[in-house]
């Protein structure tokens, strides 16, 4: 553990910042705080005076890209955010969807990329801790975690260190807190080597009446802080997240926080008990920008003011300045607003869960955020100016680099099919991620109805209440950046559609979307151009599928050595399964069942794993090789609606979508349950495209032989292509006249670890 409490060190001072109150505000100091001269002028004008150093620090984090979405807000407005099931949309700690029966689901996704690049274990662990707090602060008990990880090629020893650290960090925090990590994905590409991505999603369930909001309601109410004491870790974390990774930035280890999952578990239980017993009028965790962000956001949302006395804030370092206390991102801290008659009961709950609990101030009606320290007023700022008045930028927009056309498509002879399939199955992005998820407790809370590797999405059982039947939600998160790099708009559409398709394949109806949009610097026109087009594509897909976006996170400045990562939107999605009989997995069920492919014929190889294997990966800073085919969004909507309807009508026995590796890999994965398949003919005439082309999306299903005609008729009526391509057997997998591959050989290839020696 990183304990600096013994010495009165000052990270901000190490960057040349004087954090004492008599510091004079120079243009350099303003720049060091990531504020532009015109932003600073706006601050002086609004305050009617020069800000103090504490106020400058507060503005710098609240107006950082991470907190204020300065470059992304106008674009994000294009996403559909309303729907009859939406209880809470964007702007709160997490989105909330009503699933009926008195229950609601809170879910949210966030990035912890830069901290994980510097210190992978703690970076990932505190990412998990942070997203958990976003969920339970709404009053929901976390029931599932998902992780989307992007690394460079695993052959790079630096990557091995990062992969190990990130996976251990996720396990270390999530396992201890007792929230199952159930799904996610891991992809390896050189474009992410310099700036890895660690995106975490959390899903929680609550009784609708327990919904709690991060609002400082009721002037005169007490402001209570509980959880860990405030230390010097993580100062300026939000600003750190809002700049490019450089040698200099990597030196700022003080901007990385250290997690304490046991405290995380205690504040989780304390928070849920406080909310369930009606003891808080508003509550919020202290995440990015710590005490600063939680106080002014709560006041800003409620239109109230807030006044706090830093002398009362429990501190774990001696002699911390007001600047440091306000900007610390020490983990596992909560801020609650409590009516005076309930203070005693609230403090008792905190004591019971051994997580402190101190009244540090009160809600006022002045609209001002006032901070006192050692008897002096060190900050006095209109709360709404911090939260609502951050500048908005409309950066220059240029079309992203077009993909280079693929001269000659790789051809695959029939004799090469099996070897190609086995190589693809063993490739790091496609191979089983058991090496990761077996380290995650994915079964705690006895809810894992569909476990990792069993279906296209995780299915979580919600225990029936009062003798009622169990209910089920499905959750998924992923995003294929290779498609986005080739066509940002279509890539955005595909990402949303893939998440929805994953839910549909396990038998769930998609209800809501969250996201984490990882891009380079928005100040680069082609990055912003890709961002705008990608979000536009996402919005089109969300509208077409009828799923609202309830929140999300934008992570800009993912760059290394001046080169942006490939645009990488991650889509998290929530679905509902009303009947246990509709739960569908990917494994074949019975010998003799007919295998059908639903959806259009594959086209092209751009962005595919096969092309990566034969022509090499996309390289950072160069236009990718190979285009992707136009995408028929309406056709995709029909495909998904047909699949879900056929599942609900009991026709479909297994379902798995075609994604990385194409049809052959999909079929192989369906065989891993133990039954084989004989595929009579691969649809299309080019073997490489037919078996290994990834787009447009399709779904492979198996049905009882007698049901095949009905499925085909339904598909025809819906306008979806349906091809009978083979049947389930008791042997291995034989593809279009190739020799049969034994299931054990498929399994062995699929269980290949990304590098030798990985435990």
């Amino acid at each position: 553990m990183d304990d600096r409490s013994s010495s009165p060190w000052r990270w901000p001072r190490e960057w040349g910042i004087d954090v004492t109150l008599n510091a004079s505000i120079t243009p350099d100091l303003v720049t060091q705080h990531g504020l532009r001269p015109e932003e600073y002028e706006g601050i002086v004008e609004r305050l009617g005076r020069e800000p103090s150093i504490v106020e400058l620090g507060i503005y710098s984090v609240m107006w950082s890209e991470h907190c204020a979405y300065k470059h992304s807000r106008p674009v994000l407005r294009g996403l559909p955010t309303t729907g009859e099931r939406v209880l809470v949309g964007p702007g709160e700690n997490a989105g909330v969807i009503d699933i009926g029966g008195g229950l609601a689901i809170a879910f949210k996704m966030e990035s912890h990329n830069h901290p994980s690049a510097v210190e992978p274990y703690q970076g990932a662990a505190t990412g998990v801790g942070g997203i958990l707090r976003d969920i339970f602060t709404m009053g929901a008990r976390p029931v599932a975690m998902l992780d989307n990880l992007r690394f460079g090629e695993p052959s790079d020893p630096a990557m091995q260190h990062l992969v190990e650290g990130v996976v251990e960090g996720i396990a270390g925090y999530g396992n201890c807190v007792g929230v199952p990590t159930v799904a996610g994905d891991v992809m390896f590409d050189p474009g992410h080597a310099g700036n890895i991505l660690v995106n975490v999603m959390c899903v929680g369930v609550m009784r609708s009446e327990d919904l709690a909001l991060g609002q400082a309601q009721g002037p005169g109410n007490a402001v209570l802080c509980f959880g860990s004491a405030t230390g010097c870790d993580g100062i300026h974390g939000a600003t750190f997240a809002s700049e490019e990774l450089s040698e200099q930035a990597l030196e700022r280890r003080g901007a990385v926080q250290v997690g304490d999952p046991f405290m995380g578990k205690r504040i989780l239980e304390a928070t849920l008990e406080l909310i369930r017993r009606g003891l808080v009028a508003g509550i919020q965790d202290m995440g990015a920008a710590g005490l600063t962000c939680s106080t002014c956001e709560m006041a800003g949302r409620a239109g109230t003011g807030i006044e706090i006395d830093l002398d009362r804030v429990p501190q774990r370092a001696e002699g911390m300045s007001a600047y440091e206390i306000m900007l610390s991102e020490s983990q596992e801290r909560m801020l609650a607003v409590v009516e005076p008659p309930k203070i005693e009961a609230a403090l008792e709950v905190c004591e019971r869960w051994e997580c402190g609990g101190v009244v540090i101030g009160e809600v006022t009606d002045t609209g001002q955020m006032v901070v006192r320290h050692h008897g002096a007023t060190v900050a006095d700022i209109p709360a709404e100016h911090l939260t609502g008045a951050a500048p908005v930028y409309h950066p220059e927009d240029a079309p992203p680099a077009a993909p280079r056309p693929l001269g000659e498509t790789p051809r695959i002879r029939r004799s090469e099919v099996n070897a190609t399939l086995l190589r693809l199955l063993a490739s790091p992005t496609i191979a089983s991620k058991r090496w990761a998820w077996r380290r995650y407790d994915h079964m705690v809370q006895t809810g894992a109805a569909v476990r990792p590797g069993e279906g296209d999405a995780a299915v979580i059982r919600l225990r029936g209440r009062d003798g009622g039947p169990d209910r089920f939600i499905a959750v998924t998160s992923d995003g294929n950046h290779r498609a986005v790099a080739r066509d940002a708009r279509i890539g955005g559409q595909l990402a949303v559609c893939e998440a929805a398709r994953n839910l549909v394949c396990v038998g769930a109806e998609p209800l809501g979307v969250t996201n984490c949009l990882n891009f380079g610097s928005p100040e680069r026109p082609e990055v912003f151009g890709a961002f705008r087009r990608c979000v536009g594509g996402m919005a089109e897909a969300c509208r077409a599928l009828g799923v609202p976006v309830t929140g999300g996170n934008v992570s800009f400045y993912n760059e290394a050595d001046g080169i942006a990562i490939p645009p990488t939107p991650m889509i998290g999605m929530l679905g509902l399964i009303e009947d246990a009989a509709h739960i569908t997995r990917m494994a074949w069920r019975e010998v003799g069942d007919v295998i059908c492919m639903l959806g259009p014929l594959p086209e092209g190889l751009g962005g595919s794993e096969l092309l990566k294997m034969t022509a090499g990966p996309d390289l950072p800073g160069t236009a990718p090789l190979g285009t992707i085919a136009p995408f028929d969004l309406e056709g995709e909507v029909r495909l998904q609606s047909l699949t879900l309807r056929a599942i609900r009508e009991g026709l479909i026995r297994s379902a798995h979508d075609v994604s990385e590796g194409g049809l052959a890999v999909t079929l192989a994965e369906c065989c891993l349950g133990g039954l084989g398949a004989r595929i009579d003919a691969a649809p299309g005439d080019d073997l490489a495209v037919a078996l290994f082309g990834e787009l447009p999306p399709r779904v492979v299903v198996s049905v009882r032989a007698e049901d095949a005609p009905r499925l085909c008729a339904m598909a025809e009526a819906e306008g979806v292509d349906c091809a009978e391509i083979g049947e389930v057997t008791g042997g291995g997998l034989s593809l279009a006249g190739c020799e049969e591959i034994a299931i054990d050989a498929l399994r062995a290839a699929h269980e290949t670890r990304p590098w030798e020696g990985l435990a």
């Binding site: 396992n175 201890c176 705690v444 059982r461």
Partner: protein, 221 residues
């Protein structure tokens, strides 16, 4: 049948054990806080899995010294059945109610996976309803059972090993997955029977452990 499930700060399988007791087995299940006295009239005490006190210091070491543990020891002394699952097993060892210790897995990583167990004795109050082989999940990083040679000889000699891994996942000596006390009323096991007690979770072998306990107490529902 009335069962108490002890809750320490950091326990995280407490609700699962309460739920299986109540909803699957139809028992009365009472959450018992670590600082409080054990409620009277219990037929069974379960120490659930999790990370009591964060597993800081040593898994189970702090929980073993909680106020409620003195009552649990008295309950056991009087012949009451005590089942420790995962972290509960670690706590029972730390409290001296069972011999041996659980060390970090030999490959130093957390394992969450299904394992097959051989049920070594099927005439005990924890196993009388179990078939010869049962499958259930493990989820631990410190499940590598160790006891010195003498203790091990005593455990084996007196038939106190109840569950053995068919394929050893963690390095446990003699493939031990679960043991019982000499008096036969305290059992600790690393695998999670409560995670394998419902059809919807894909496996119901774990229920046989709870069914055995129901048979043994003869209290019925």
């Amino acid at each position: 049948m009335k069962t108490g499930v002890i809750i320490f700060p950091g326990s995280n399988c407490d609700q699962d054990c309460l739920d299986v007791s109540e909803r699957v087995m139809g028992w009365e299940a009472i959450p018992c806080w670590h600082r409080d006295a054990l409620p009277p009239g219990l037929d069974l005490v379960i120490l659930p899995g999790g990370f009591s006190h964060g597993d800081y210091l040593r898994a189970g070491a702090i929980a073993a010294r909680a106020p409620v543990m003195a009552d649990v020891a008295r309950f056991a002394q009087a012949g009451g059945p005590v089942l420790g699952i995962c972290n509960g097993f670690q706590i029972l060892c730390e409290a001296g109610l069972l011999p041996g210790a659980l060390r970090i897995n030999r490959d130093l990583i957390f394992h969450c996976e299904d394992v097959w167990l051989r049920v070594e004795r099927r005439d005990t109050r924890f196993t009388s309803a179990c078939p010869e082989r049962i499958q259930m999940p493990i989820a631990h990083r410190e499940g590598n059972y160790y006891a010195d040679r003498e203790t091990l000889a005593r455990l084996e000699g007196q038939g106190l090993v109840l569950f053995r891994y068919e394929e050893n996942p963690n390095g446990s000596v003699n493939d031990i997955a679960g043991i019982m006390s000499e008096a036969g009323n305290v059992c600790g096991m690393m695998p999670h029977p409560e995670r394998a007690s419902e059809d919807v979770l894909g496996c119901t072998d774990g229920r046989s452990v709870f069914e055995s306990l129901a048979l043994a107490t003869g209290v019925g529902n």
